[in-house]
Amino acid sequence: MNDPMRAYRARRDASRRTVVSKYQILGFISSGTYGRVYKAQSSDDGKIHAIKKFKPDKEGDVITYTGISQSAIREIALNREISHENVVALKEVILEEKSIYMVFEYAEHDFLQVIHHHSQVQRGQIPPAVLKSLIYQLLNGLVYLHSCHILHRDLKPANILITSVGVVKIADLGLARLIYQPLQALFVGDKVVVTIWYRAPELLMGAKHYNKAVDCWAVGCVMAELASLRPIFKGEEAKLDSKKNVPFQKDQLLRIFEVLGTPKESDWPGVVNMPEYHNMKRLDPFEDRLANWCRPTNGLPVRVDSEQGYSLLRGLFAYDPDQRLTAKDALQHKWFHEDPLPTWNAFETATNKQIPPHRRITQDEAPSMLPVQTNQTQAQAPVQTHAQAQAHISKSASSASFTSLSGGGYAGGQSGSGGHAPTKKKARVG
């Protein structure tokens, strides 16, 4: 009678297959605030997966249960419901020994890697056909998420994966939220969303209510980054003060204004109601020079040559969230109808050299995924400190978050055939 649930737990534990019995861990991929990601091979079918292990909770030296984090619950709950060619697929969740493992399809590349490969190795721009295909597929996935009333809220190059056959997979729904009839304002749950460089102006201006348009802004930032191989608005994040008040993000706004000009009331009528409006008024005024950013006159290489490409970027960078292009509008933009046309294998036209190398995995960290059976606590303790240190780093260096997890190409990602068109089904009842 001391523990009425002991029999239950024994039965459940006995029926559960362990992670190690199902997967062979090949190596460590990355780590971040919420945990670490490993590359693993299924013992059943040999397929490659990425396993995201949430950081176990710890009190002192003993790992205990302290409840599943909100972000884990969110990511699990959302992933269980969705299915789309351009969104990374969750294969299963394993709850074992106080740890949560999310098993995803594996993806060989991500946008950050592609950017890095071209800026550091290739020393040249991403071919326009590749760039357009990447943005097209990204928007295609985003249309799906938005049609499901899911805000991603953390789109950035590291979170957008690409399989070895060039299919884009949006990953990391850890910050994502369902916005269908929320019980609380979105603001209440998470005061700060979206990595600062990709954060929409309404968020920077302190808006309490925001919507899908924040993701579309981030797509604009990603597109610009693919075009110029560096973040277009690379601001310094002002830190939360001791009372956790969200500070005025002056530097980030200035970076935006330098390119897009200071927002005018005529462009964004709502700007005057923004909490940070008065702070904004104190900043130096800037003129809009996005056209010049696309085709610099000072000898820098052309970033966006096509008039339509400029128009798409312009639409995604509309200051007024209500006037910003929606993902759906953007997907139907004329840019995607002019040459070069987007392809379902984003690398179709790329030479081998232009395709970034395979994701690097390291071996030294790999064994730490699972506690050593003989001496659990000791084996896990160093992992903990390491993970925490990592978490710290990734918090400050905002773009380097761990989320480069994976999604898998081999699962026949050649065409949009698997793409789930969010159709409304008719009465199936009765």
């Binding site: 249960y65 409840g67 969740v93 709850l95 369902l178 916005i179 009839q181 008719k426």
Partner: protein
Amino acid sequence: MATDFWASSHYKRWIVDRATLRQARADDLLYVDDPEYLDFLAIFFANVISKLGKKLLLRQRVIATATVFFRRFYLKNSYCETDPFIVIAACCYVAAKAEESPAHIKNVVTEARSLFSSENYGIKHFPSDNSKLAEMEFYLVDDLECDLTIFHPYRTLMTLCRKEGTSDDDDAEAGELGVGIESGPRYWGNGDGQLELQEGALQMAWFIINDTYRSELCLLYPPHLIAIAAIYLTLVLHVPTRATIQAQSQAEPETPTLQPRRRSSRQASNASAPSNINQKKSNQDIIGFFAELNVSMPLIATIAQEIISLYALWDRYKEDGNVETAKNSFPAQTASPYTPGTGSKRTLSGTSRSGSLNSGSGGETPIEGGEDNEDNVVTPAILMALLMKMKENRAADVAHPASGRPVAVNKMLERTQLSG
């Protein structure tokens, strides 16, 4: 996902049939004298969840989600082998997170402890440290197969109905819906009409939906059908509404008034057409409204029947007030048809006869096994004692499996013999 019920885990994995439900309760059935007790337990547990939820200041939708989690958990487990109270606490804890209005684990533990140790339940052993609850959460999420997104009838209700004199957009009804509401398309049928309900009627429909969580309906039927059944019952049970409908059908029996709101396409395009507001409610074409929903009306009637039998059962369950239910506002004369005939009523003899179990119920004490006493009430105290007994007997059976302890099997036999 939020709008596509047909693609949801809820529809694909968690709508079950009666046989599955029966199978899920098979072990528990071995330890109760009358299967009806299991239905009373369903009411009892839902009330406990609701009470804990209210103490935690959870919204109704969160409480409903917690209840669905609880029902799903017991599709795979039995009461007699688990501790439903720790499961309830975990359900509330996870539901709060799943619905994006988290409660602190410490708070859940404290409130659960204080509620469960109260007179009604008398549980002294509820763990005080967070890790026990967190551990249960872990197992719960696993048993729920990580399917944490739940559809509820409330949404359908608010889509299909609005309060008199309000416009389409104004669906922040009953203080339940937050800001930034996105309107989504209906996920079935093709009608776009809205039924205008008097304020009390809308409230009643809402409460009827609350009440359905006292049963296992949420496992059997898609939520939109439960909502339609609740609307259907409301039209019958809400006295002023029924009076209006009756007056209307007598006044103008010949002319089927074609309302503009039936011409769906136009209606959809100008969402908040102010002309609707001025429309007299008496002119509503209710039959047309239901017809356009394009759902099986016989199925709706079946669900309505099941809700009614829930109320009949509930009439014999006595718990200190505090439970908001539509039941209390039903007109007196309509309440009686639900109570099944005296003849068909089974006497809940077994457990209550064994004297000791009757002690300590708050108000009415059940009258001992008189033949003609069909109003044997069931109280939380009886059910708590029953749960204890089930658990003990189960433990004894598990401890002596080889002895072939026949008692359990015999109870099933007894019942069969009695009925046949």
